[in-house]
């Protein structure tokens, strides 16, 4: 697993829906795993699902944009509203309102940052 993005849910969609969503995501190109995630932080903590991808699955802007667009579709398809996709850089993409162009711009910025922060490093290997 080389890359991971996170889906953040504004409220608990329920374990059943989360399981179904996880199943939906398996068909994505380069899918390498998924799981729910919670932190031990006080206060209103978001429920999250991490989604992992194999090396280079999100390497190209076009491929990453397409994959993230499909994730958004699948989340919407399960009737979940208000969720966001969080990129490793911390940038968040609104699933309800981001257009493909918006996603592409954010992905491009992320790739630029990745090139600057982690050009060859061991992260994720």
């Amino acid at each position: 697993m080389s890359e991971v993005v996170t889906i953040l849910f504004p409220s608990d969609p329920g374990s059943e829906r989360l399981r179904e969503l996880q199943g939906d995501l398996r068909v994505l190109e380069g899918f390498a795993g998924a799981g729910t995630e919670q932190t031990r932080s006080a206060g209103i903590a978001e429920l999250a699902m991490w989604v992992g991808f194999a090396a280079d699955a999100l390497g190209l802007v076009s491929a990453a944009t397409e994959t993230l667009g499909k994730i958004a579709e699948k989340v919407r398809g399960r009737g979940i509203r208000g969720a966001v996709i969080e990129l490793p850089s911390g940038v968040r993409i609104s699933i309800d309102s981001a257009s493909p162009d918006d996603i592409q711009k954010l992905v491009s910025a992320w790739q630029v940052e990745k090139a600057q922060w982690s050009p060859r490093g061991p992260g994720g290997e």
């Binding site: 991971v4 995630e37 006080a42 206060g43 903590a45 490793p88 911390g90 982690s118 992260g123």
Partner: protein, 752 residues
């Protein structure tokens, strides 16, 4: 004279100011405040005059303690009183107030500094026509020129002010101006001129100088000697000066006051650092290293030097009750906040609750400060002895290398690292032969931006796939000469500084391929000055495992916690077993009700807490572990003794330390958070996270960590093992690199 007679008040005021000049700032402030607040026998002109002087003097004391806003408020009050004074005095008084304001507005240590307003006040001073105020204006303009690096102007104005003050019979003020003249001439490279000016100043200081005068003059002398290459003599003067500064700093028994006072003092340590380093070679390296470490974590060193004072023992029960009740109030408000919906929390109900929380927090802080001030053992704080890094290197247990960072110039704090200017980072370390080494890495503004961005990212929620530290910074943080000289498999004790605090140096990428944690077991320490202060530890055998799956604060449940505690119990129960106490605190329960009150935690040698953690950025001493319906807070640990325990906190962010507290930016290098009271309480090592911990990876990490501790691994090695195990299952640094071991390494018996 009646006690409230204006003459009596004048006496008392002068006594307070005499104490202030001797460095007893908290005491002087308390006395002046008492005099200001006391009801006057009459409200006549002489009382108004007395009150005017009190306000003016208190503003001076507050300014010296870097409490700018309060000082300005006193000056505003003093100005309001002037109209009621004798007409003959009014112009002079207005000039005096203008001078005091200008000093505040022109000081770069003041976040509200306003050079334009400062110049306006200067113009008012010069219009007054009083010779003594004219000198004051010259002196202030000299300081401004000094800060701008205009040495010639600074020296000329200081010289003129000194001559005039001598003529008018103000020898102390004249001596101070001569010292400033010496500093300006040093800046210009005129060493002979600097020496002559300093000698003239010292003729007064040697007989009548205040502690601060003497400290400052000694440091200037050190710089002159250093410029003349008399490095050994310069070093002796530097040590003398630093001892004097340290003594002033350690007079503050309350953290917030000490931190405020420190703000402009760290420049002196930066000057001392330059003098020390100038000697060159191993000698210069060790001296500079010692100065760098002495400039860090004054308060924690003071706490440990004060040794065995358990803060809550034998104190006034009423004060202790006030402190405990304030904590209970905080818990109730936290719980109410937790039960609000997201909308309500962000709306009016939430804002009101948060405001009440802040009030309760202030109340608790005041109660804690009251305990600290009232305890006579606390008041007689010991000044930590002089740190000699060379001596500590020789005493380090085998298998350890030391590494320290020090940003040049600004003297420390989160501000250091250059701002918009390039930065020079000094890296000190010991190589495989325990030789002291030193190098400097040069940071361009864009490097510093990257570092700041990294630090910002590593706060709160960190995405699982995040790159923690940009690779480009690797060689700046762990330069090749460092990596090449510390053997793989060593333990590395790291003392960070400024912007490198809370950075996971163990997750820095070396040579574009390895994480530092892959090569060394890395442990952290706020400052190497803690090494000689660490107490002997005989950690008890028993192990405490305490956690909470669902607390009473409305936080999400943590289903991993019960399994984590059970797994750790199994680890410690394996032969040779250690006695284990396991508590799962229910939602409506408390540690006390579960028989695990904090006061009894000293009976355990290993303490593991698994729950939600909270560290409010602006209330670091309210950092808490949420167990049931109560919180164990940071400040609670001041009242217990942990005899060398290893503390592992399986919660979020509790390894962080704040960069501000109660609306005041923290200027110095203090680790204000949970680590400070735990180390004071005697913990040998604290393992905690600095960003939000993913619950399931936390449980994995802790299982591996405790397994390693059980088999006798040093905590640093145990953490490295756990990092490695966790990374093999979850290869993202955000999940495995979130745990920092902090503490003094244990040595062979009889050493620590």
């Amino acid at each position: 004279m009646a006690p409230d007679d204006p003459a009596s008040i004048d006496h008392a005021r002068k006594r307070a100011m005499a104490r202030f000049e001797e460095g007893e700032i908290p005491e002087a402030l308390a006395e002046l405040t008492r005099l200001i607040d006391a009801p006057a026998a009459d409200r006549g002109a002489r009382s108004r005059q007395a009150l005017y002087y009190l306000r003016l003097d208190r503003a001076t004391v507050l300014r010296r303690a870097n409490r700018w806003d309060e000082a300005m408020a006193d000056l505003d009050e003093a100005e309001r009183l002037i109209d009621g004074l004798a007409p003959l005095f009014q112009d002079m008084c207005r000039g005096s107030v203008a001078h005091a304001r200008a000093l505040i507005l022109g000081d770069p240590a003041n976040p509200g500094a306003d050079p334009t307003r400062c110049l306006g006040e200067l113009a008012r001073i010069r219009r007054s026509g009083f010779a003594v105020l004219e000198c004051a204006a010259d002196d202030l303009e000299s300081r401004l020129a000094h800060r701008a690096g205009d040495w010639t102007t600074a020296a000329a104005l200081a010289r003129r002010a000194a001559a005039s003050l001598d003529d008018q019979g103000w020898p102390a003020a004249a001596a101070t101006c001569r010292r400033r003249e010496a500093e300006a001439l040093l800046g210009r490279g005129d060493v002979d001129g600097a020496e002559a000016a300093l000698d003239a100043a010292r003729r007064h200081f040697d007989r009548f100088g205040t502690p601060l005068d003497l400290a400052h003059a000694e440091l200037v002398r050190a710089r002159i000697l250093s410029a003349r290459h008399a490095h050994d003599e310069a070093w002796h003067c530097t040590l003398d000066a630093l001892a004097r500064f340290d003594h002033l700093i350690h007079r503050f028994s309350v953290l917030s006051e000490q931190q405020a006072f420190l703000r402009d003092k760290l420049e002196r340590y930066a000057e001392a650092f330059a003098v020390a380093l100038a000697a060159g070679g191993d000698t210069g390296c060790l001296r500079a290293w010692s100065v760098a470490e002495r400039s860090k974590s004054f308060y924690l060193c003071q706490l440990l030097a004060s040794g065995s004072v358990a803060l809550f023992e034998g104190v006034d029960p009423a004060r202790l009750r006030a402190f405990e009740e304030a904590g209970d109030t905080l818990d109730r408000l936290d719980a109410q906040l937790g039960r609000l919906s997201r909308d309500d929390r962000e709306g009016e109900p939430g804002q009101q609750l948060i405001a009440r929380l802040h009030d309760a927090s202030r109340e608790k802080a005041r109660a804690l400060e009251s305990l600290m001030r009232a305890d006579p053992r606390w008041a007689r704080v010991n000044v930590p002895g002089e740190l000699d890094v060379g001596r500590e290197l020789a005493r380090m247990p085998g298998g350890w290398s030391l590494m320290s960072y020090y940003w040049e110039g600004t003297g420390g704090g989160a501000e250091s690292g250059g701002g918009r200017e390039p930065g020079r980072l000094h890296v000190f370390w010991t190589d495989g032969s325990s030789r002291p080494c030193h190098t400097v890495t040069e940071w361009a503004p864009q490097d510093l931006e990257l570092l700041r961005a990294s630090r910002t990212r590593l706060t709160g929620r960190v995405p699982r796939g995040a790159t923690l530290v940009p690779e480009a910074l690797g060689a700046l943080i762990l330069p090749p000469e460092v990596c090449g000289s510390i053997p793989e498999g060593s333990r590395l004790l790291v003392s960070p500084h400024g912007l490198l605090q809370m950075l996971p140096i163990h997750a820095v990428v070396i040579d574009s391929q390895d994480f530092a944690a892959g090569r060394w077991a890395i442990q952290y320490l706020p400052t190497l000055a803690l090494l000689p202060l660490a107490r002997q530890s005989n950690a008890p055998d028993p192990v405490l495992l305490i956690g909470c799956e669902q607390d009473g604060f409305g936080d999400r449940p943590l289903p991993d916690v019960p399994g984590e505690l059970r797994a750790l119990e199994e680890v410690w129960s394996e032969p040779p077993a250690r006695p284990v106490t396991r508590h799962l605190v229910p939602r409506d329960g408390t540690p006390d009700a579960a028989g695990a009150e904090v006061g009894r935690w000293g009976g355990f040698g290993v303490l593991h807490v698994a729950c939600h953690g909270d560290l409010p950025a602006d209330r670091p001493f309210d950092a808490s572990l949420r167990l049931g319906s109560s919180s164990v807070r940071s400040s609670d640990f001041f009242g217990i003794r942990l005899d060398g325990a290893i503390v592992t906190l399986s919660a979020c962010s509790l390894g962080r330390h704040a960069e501000g507290a109660r609306d005041r930016a923290v200027m110095a290098d203090e680790w204000i958070g949970l680590c400070l009271p735990l180390l004071y309480a005697g913990a040998r090592c604290v393992v905690a996270s600095t960003w939000e911990a993913f619950s399931e990876p936390a449980a994995r990490f802790m299982r591996a960590l405790h397994a390693a501790l059980k088999r006798g691994d040093d905590p640093a090695d145990a953490v490295r093992w756990a990092q490695d195990r966790t990374a093999s299952e979850i290869p993202f640094p955000a999940a495995w690199a979130n745990w920092y071991p902090v503490g003094v390494p244990a040595g062979p018996p009889g050493r620590r």
